[in-house]
């Protein structure tokens, strides 16, 4: 079975992870980093929007909403609960 690389988008609702890096070299990547998604940051998936996209996360004490495509850039070290 193919092991999916853990990203913020592969989290289950209620699950947490720790950010390892943010993929990409564009404006969105910088914005994701500057919103606090740097290495070592804890991130929790709170819910998905009605149609599955976007996703709502808890990060550094606030709620951040990301599209699945954006969340996929946020690589995790490995999900913890």
């Amino acid at each position: 079975m193919l092991r999916l690389m853990p990203t913020a988008a592969t989290l289950e609702v209620g699950q947490s992870g720790v950010v390892s890096t943010v993929e990409g070299t564009d404006t969105t990547t910088l914005r994701l980093l500057e919103m606090g998604l740097v290495e070592g940051t804890a991130i929790t998936l709170i819910r998905r929007a009605p149609t599955g996209d976007p996703l709502q996360f808890r990060v550094r004490g606030f709620h951040l909403s990301l599209r699945t495509s954006e969340a996929h850039r946020v690589r995790l070290e490995g999900p913890t609960s």
């Binding site: 070299t25 564009d26 404006t27 969105t28 990547t29 910088l30 914005r31 994701l32 980093l33 500057e34 919103m35 606090g36 740097v38 290495e39 940051t41 804890a42 709170i46 819910r47 929007a49 009605p50 149609t51 599955g52 996209d53 976007p54 709502q56 808890r58 550094r60 004490g61 606030f62 709620h63 951040l64 909403s65 990301l66 599209r67 954006e70």
Partner: protein, 687 residues
């Protein structure tokens, strides 16, 4: 002192700005930009110091991703003018983890700064106790705890401006990685050093250097950097700042408490409902329905009042001045023109009042969250939905509402889409045509007369909605192509909206509309009046002679251009109607009435419907048929027959290029669509 007020979005910056300036503020534009700027002097209750405050747009980072965020940086740096003498940095005490990142960036700029630690009441309730003095020690600048909502602490804040000084948030230098050291050295050699280098590196990485106003030599130095090195350096800069933030939070003793997002605890429970797959969408539809029904309910009578008031003044003036050209110029030109402008005020005020309250409460972020999937299919941000939806009521406030869209190109795309949404002014037209030409005999009905008519009306609305979405799709891929903006949206805690703040916004927007679009609307009114009333020959109304409107320049033009409207199934009377409806769509009805020789103030559409139904040409064939009626409706689905829309787009885009494009393209599309309907229908044998 000129003091720039900076901070993240949702920290109560507007509240604080309003507290500081009282009612003394003006709205203008940042130099060279389409972003609005609010400026104001210190309200007298806080003292007589000649401080001037500039309200910067809320921004998450000095490294801007959009034009309005770039404004914050440019203002603080003094790119387009002299930099402010001091900076008032507003932080949300209950959300320090991210707010302090921006704080560090601002302090890196080296301007004398004062920090307002706002929303300390909400923070305390969430169990986050931030010691202002401890924070002051960390940052090296005066820190004053405030509750902008109530005005607590503002007097202390004003006193603190005297002590404004550049901060000392030197990043932990021992923590700097190799990549960053190398890049900084490179830039140092090229003459770019210190704090400047840090944010220029980030801008270069994100390809937003052109927003920063960097000098050519700086740009060259940045371009010379290896892209990968630049990115590695940028990542280190950001990570370094957040490490610094974490250290500060530990020192303040709030790190652990903040992690659990206590400020969002209640909001999370509310969100469980409001962003629920079913209840969330139901809640959204219900909220929007409530807003629109309220607008209709409250604005309509006010509009009626305004129309009556202007009608009455017209009569007064006529009586006072007696009949004649000058009188008509005043009543039908000037007074009618001013009336045409003011008649929008209730709708603008109501829509911005409701939307302002929803925004302040935090709900609009949830709306953007719910609708982003649909909007991003078009290439737009979820925030674009509300302005689009508002177009169903009236395009004017909807177009003004596109301010919430950060990307300029996306804002224009949305503005171009809005007039396609069937606004309420189209209803009288649909009602007239459907009532006159469709299901006139009960036996013709498919299901039942009223159901048939209702279905026909619905299909016009459906056509317009689909067309708006299609046009948006096309524009995003052709003339206004730009990538779909990232969502990366903060969902702030739900808060009770500050009505005072919202009322201020409503006032600003209404005034802006009157000043910016008013003159254009007034001018168009006078021109249209002239075209449809000159030359002023005495003619008989109805009967055998030509009506006055028929003999006007406009009427003559319409008659000679009849061959142009024949292919879409219309005659010269409708031609005059289309000409007149440029003032406002519903004017088609009254103009058409005039063309059929009815009295100007005859509001009864039944007579007009009869006239249209029974109108026959020289050989006895009906002038208006179901097919020609359908073609006319389709024409009005697409045509931009609204001078006020043109005026507002001109104001919002600061030029005539876009309104001209919008008008011409929509008219062309309207004509072609009507052509397809009419000629196609004829080919298919619908006659």
């Amino acid at each position: 002192m000129r003091i720039a007020v900076a901070g993240n979005p949702n920290v109560g910056k507007t509240s604080l700005f309003n507290q500081l300036t009282g009612s003394r503020h003006s709205v203008g534009n940042y130099p060279g930009m389409t972003v609005e700027q609010r400026e104001g002097g210190l309200a007298s209750r806080w003292g007589v110091m000649p401080h001037r405050f500039i309200d910067l747009p809320g921004t998450y980072s000095i490294s801007a991703v959009s034009e309005d965020e770039a404004v914050a940086f440019r203002c603080l740096q003094g790119v387009d003018g002299s930099p402010p003498e001091a900076v008032l940095l507003v932080l949300d005490a209950s959300n320090l983890a991210r707010n302090l990142y921006f704080a560090l960036q601002v302090l890196e700029l080296g301007r004398p700064t004062v920090v307002a630690l706002n929303m300390v009441d909400a923070a305390r309730e969430a169990g986050i106790d931030v010691d202002a003095e401890a924070l002051e020690a960390c940052l090296g600048v005066p820190v004053v705890a405030t509750v902008a909502r109530t005005g607590d602490g503002v007097d202390t804040l004003v006193a603190a401006f005297e002590r404004a000084r550049p901060g000392s948030p030197a990043a932990n230098d021992d923590d700097v990685g190799d990549a960053l050291v190398a890049v900084l050295a490179n830039l140092e050699d090229a003459g770019v050093s210190g704090a400047q280098a840090r944010w220029l590196i980030c801008s270069q990485a994100a390809d937003t250097v052109e927003l920063t106003g960097a000098t050519p030599s700086q740009v060259a130095a940045l371009e010379a950097l290896d892209r990968e090195d630049c990115w590695a350096a940028a990542r280190e800069i950001v990570a370094g700042r957040y490490r610094h933030v974490e250290t500060m939070l530990e020192t303040l003793g709030v790190a652990d408490r903040l992690d659990g997002a206590p400020a969002m605890e209640t909001s999370e429970r509310v969100d469980a409902v409001l962003t629920h797959p079913f209840f969330g969408l139901v809640g959204f539809v219900a909220t929007m329905a409530l807003v629109f029904v309220s607008i209709y309910f409250w604005a309509d009578p006010l509009v009626g009042l305004i129309e009556d008031a202007f009608g009455a003044s017209s009569e007064l003036v006529s009586e006072a001045l007696g009949p004649g050209l000058f009188t008509d110029l005043i009543t039908e030109g000037l007074i009618a023109g001013v009336g045409n402008v003011l008649v929008f005020v209730p709708q603008i005020a109501m829509l911005f009042l409701f939307l302002g309250l929803l925004e302040d409460s935090g709900y609009l972020a949830r709306a953007a969250f719910l609708l982003d999937k649909l909007m991003s299919k078009l290439g737009l941000h979820g925030r674009a939905f509300i302005p689009l939806l508002s177009g169903y009521a009236c395009a004017i406030p909807a177009i003004m509402g596109t301010r919430t869209i950060s990307s300029w190109k996306d804002r224009v795309v949305t503005m171009m889409m809005i007039p396609y949404m069937s606004c309420s002014a189209r209803l009288p037209i649909y009602a007239l045509i459907i009532g006159a030409l469709f299901v006139t005999k009960p036996e013709e009905a498919w299901i039942s007369p009223s159901t048939d008519r209702g279905l026909l009306l619905l299909s016009m609305y459906l056509l317009s909605t689909v067309s708006a979405l299609v046009m948006g799709y096309i524009y995003k891929r052709t003339i206004l192509a730009s990538p779909t903006p990232p969502l990366v949206l903060e969902l702030p805690p739900y808060r009770l909206p500050r009505v005072a703040n919202t009322l201020r916004v409503v006032w600003d927007k209404t005034l802006a509309f009157i000043k910016g679009a008013g003159t254009v609307i007034l001018a168009f009114t006078i021109v249209l009046w002239a075209v449809l009333s000159f030359p002023r020959e005495e003619t008989g109304a109805g009967g055998d002679g030509p009506t006055r409107i028929e003999a006007s320049y406009g009427g003559r033009v319409a008659k000679s251009f009849e061959p142009l409207v024949e292919p879409i199934g219309q005659d010269w009377r409708v031609g005059i109607g289309i000409l007149g409806s440029f003032a406002a769509r519903e004017v088609l009805v009254s103009t058409l009435g005039l063309a059929y020789g009815m009295e100007a103030d005859d509001d009864d559409p039944v007579q007009l419907r009869e006239a249209m139904r029974n109108d026959v040409d020289e050989v006895g064939k009906p002038v208006h048929t179901k097919l020609s009626g359908l073609a006319l409706m389709v024409f009005f689905v697409y045509a931009c027959q609204c001078m006020s829309t043109v005026a507002v787009v001109k104001r919002e885009t600061r030029g005539w290029r876009w309104p001209a494009f919008m008008f011409v393209s929509m008219t062309l599309i309207a004509y072609i669509a009507a052509l397809i309907v009419f000629q196609g229908g004829r080919l298919l044998g619908f006659g």
